[in-house]
Symmetry: C2
Subunit: 463 residues, 2 copies
């Protein structure tokens, strides 16, 4: 199969044209103002036969009127004009086109014909098209976006995201800072009349800013192509996927959403497994695991330990981990000795290691991190909100309660350290502030277990 | 089987004794100060042979020295003294005893013998014991608690909680306000040497302040007794359960946590199903469903509709709902007509009803609420954070974007209305403020679907 690399102009263009720019409020109307605002004013070319000037910028009748070479065209005019406009893009040798408009195969047969028409105009050209029915690109590192997103709220990171849906790409971008996630790039691919998830898997496989690839899919465009691209990319970077459209209602909704054929879920399961792709069971799990993979080392064996102050949370993590294949072996004799010497009579020194209110969380955690039998740690610190509030307000350094995250990291840099907690607002905020950037916090005990398992699975897959 | 109702003294005692009260910092040392602080100073009797006075309160050598009748004794002295102290409670005819100390069957054989010894002292008496290895009671309505919990942060509500673990009960109480949940009462039962989950199911079945019963279990003490109590209670109020200890590691951790025999998971599945108990797959799901059941009407048929601005979230809800048995039928012709008249060309008027950025969320939602075919609604409003922030800051009333929650409620008071959204912090806060108390917000599209399904299942079970 021939693979054509994507032009870098999609992600960091020099000269951008917006076709369908308009003064009227409506889809895409904010894009030109937004681009001018992020530093593209001098490199922005608006096109619309019915406008003369917008925000002080000349509006051209058609693409061919623009005197400059354009390397990225953003199309937001009505769907029916797409074939002609894409034809103009080809004629002007524009390498990268983002067709954001909706009204194509997701609406039915006529829309599908329109897509086919656009595809015809592309044949034999160098022009690549992302879309239709998408919001294009979010590139926080180079501060380039192609839709109205709060760029300043985004933290540049190492997670490359491929999403099908435009609206979803938008809310993913909004949600990322809330979830303490940093994207390298996010690309929404919509109905994929040309560029698809397989192109992007290969792109991210070599993107220096990307360490983890996250996919939200409602269907794969070409199973064989996807399998090969996934295998190729997965040999370089872990791929996490959430696949929508497993039910018949979901499939039919996916078809009318992004024109996707969601296909049989079992088929996808097989493709994902063979390619070593890690599948998330929910959107929250996808994001939690992305956070884990973006920061934690891989896990070198299936042997994990749970250090907890809550027996119940420990049981939850153990149940979830065991169901997947994670092992919770007995701790090494040295570790057991070390902890037992300090432990009160009621405390069982085992794995899960439930320290309860003994105050031994730090010593237990350090002992476990030093234990050669253990390759990854799930830490479940909890404390009554009233108690921790009182302690901290009396001037005690909160890291004396549950440890210094940097020290944990130094002690075992090769072992993943995933944390989960529940409790009151004061405690939750405090944990986030102290541990949220150095270790990795996830949103449930079950996801903590699945994350470790996935870090091990990927390690084993890469061999 | 004989069922002995629990004395009300557990929940709202007049005279409280604390055995093992101490000036030394340690387990339970804050309890007497806490009780004095919540209005029990005049009705509080401390017992400890090695103390004379604590915080200006007389400390008695033994229970029998207290001149007053005691209706609740809280025991926090070392485990080894439990048989004698419980014997004194019996002698003094104290109806309610909470044994909070740990160090019993959860630590092994000797601890189990100690529990047996306590049980012997109880025989033939009217005294009931909760515990050991627990934190007892949280009763926000009557402002009574038996451990250090931030009482002022708790909102009194209609959810009755039965938890096994003490630490867990504590963090549940802390987490409840963060999760926008109100408890009627929370009881932690620990190792259950006397009072168990079955007693409490029957108690909550008749507790006027309780509308929903939530159980966190690591194992049932007596399967037959539990089944009968669950069937009895479930005929009056819905019961939601999360069961820990499905794996062998989890089972063994549960044994050393609360001395529970977690048993075969399939067995529990059968008991829960036959008794009509609703099982949550995770702790978050348990709490989300508790919120739903505490506010929403039951669902009268399996036919639901999804109204969404994000095709992707709509697909997730449809997948999860379909897998359970929820139906997403075609909308009634009137509904379709109403929406289609307003809809732009690209919008598909179907179920899930994806309104995208059409601005038709309110009209669509109202039309669906009026549709006789539909018995429950999943609403998935999303909007780019930057856009909503701009709109609201320009002075627009945010309910003009996604509707007035009171109006939705008035329009179809008999139909559950469950909402989920993702996005930026500004948007998430706004949705919580506007809709969080009138409708019910849950933490994922999947849980929204499971919640509706459970509301329908319970309706069908009750017949």
């Amino acid at each position: 199969m021939i693979h054509r690399p994507l032009p870098e102009a999609f992600f960091k263009p020099r000269h951008v044209a917006v076709v369908g720019a308009s003064k009227k409020r409506g889809f895409g109307s904010g894009i030109s103002t937004m681009l001018a605002g992020i530093g593209y004013r001098e490199h922005l070319y608006l096109v619309n036969p019915r406008e003369k000037e917008i925000d002080g910028l000349t509006v051209y009748r058609q693409l061919s009127d623009i005197p400059e070479d354009i390397d990225l065209a953003i199309l937001i005019m009505p769907a029916s004009q797409a074939p002609d406009v894409v034809g103009e893009c080809v004629a002007k040798r524009i390498p990268a086109v983002i067709l954001e408009s909706a009204g194509f195969s997701e609406t039915g047969h006529e829309g599908a014909l329109l897509e086919e028409e656009v595809r015809k105009r592309l044949r034999g050209s160098e022009t690549r098209v992302i879309g239709p029915n998408c919001i294009g690109i979010v590139n926080p590192h180079d501060r380039f976006i192609t839709s109205q997103i709060d760029l300043d709220s985004l933290r540049p990171g190492n997670i490359g995201v491929i999403a099908q849906s435009g609206a979803f790409g938008n809310i993913l971008s909004d949600w990322a800072p809330v979830q303490n996630l940093g994207f390298s790039k996010l690309v929404t691919i919509g109905n994929r009349l040309d560029v698809d998830e397989s192109d992007l898997l290969r792109y991210f496989a070599h993107d220096e800013k990307t360490d983890v690839i996250v996919l939200y899919l409602e269907g794969v465009k070409d199973g064989r192509r996807f399998f090969e691209a996934a295998r190729y990319a997965n040999a370089r970077k872990p791929i996490l996927v959430f696949k929508g459209g497993s039910s018949s209602v979901g499939k039919s909704a996916a078809a009318s959403h992004t024109g996707s054929l969601a296909g049989e879920d079992g088929l996808y399961e097989g493709i994902f497994r063979q390619a070593g792709v890690i599948r998330a069971a929910s959107f929250q799990e996808l994001f939690d695991m992305a956070r884990v993979f973006s920061r934690e080392p891989l896990m070198r064996g299936p042997e994990a330990c749970i250090v907890t102050c809550s027996g119940s949370l420990g049981v939850m993590a153990a149940d979830a981990g065991s169901a997947l294949g994670l092992q919770f072996p007995e701790l090494g004799p040295e570790t057991v000795d070390k902890v037992r010497k300090l432990a009160p009579a009621w405390m069982n020194v085992r794995n899960p290691l439930d320290v309860g209110p003994s105050g031994l969380f730090i010593q237990a955690t350090k002992a476990v991190l030093r234990d050669d039998r253990i390759h990854g740690l799930i830490a479940l610190p909890v404390i009554p909100n009233a108690v921790v509030q009182e302690i901290v307000e009396s001037g005690v350094d909160p890291t004396t309660l549950y440890g210094d995250p940097e020290e944990y990291r130094r002690l075992a840099p090769g072992k993943p350290f995933v944390m989960h907690t529940v409790g009151g607002a004061f405690w939750l905020d405090m944990v986030q502030k102290i541990y949220g950037d150095t270790l990795t916090i996830v949103s449930s005990a079950e996801i903590a277990a699945k994350s470790l398992w996935s870090l091990y699975r990927y390690h084993a897959f890469r061999g």
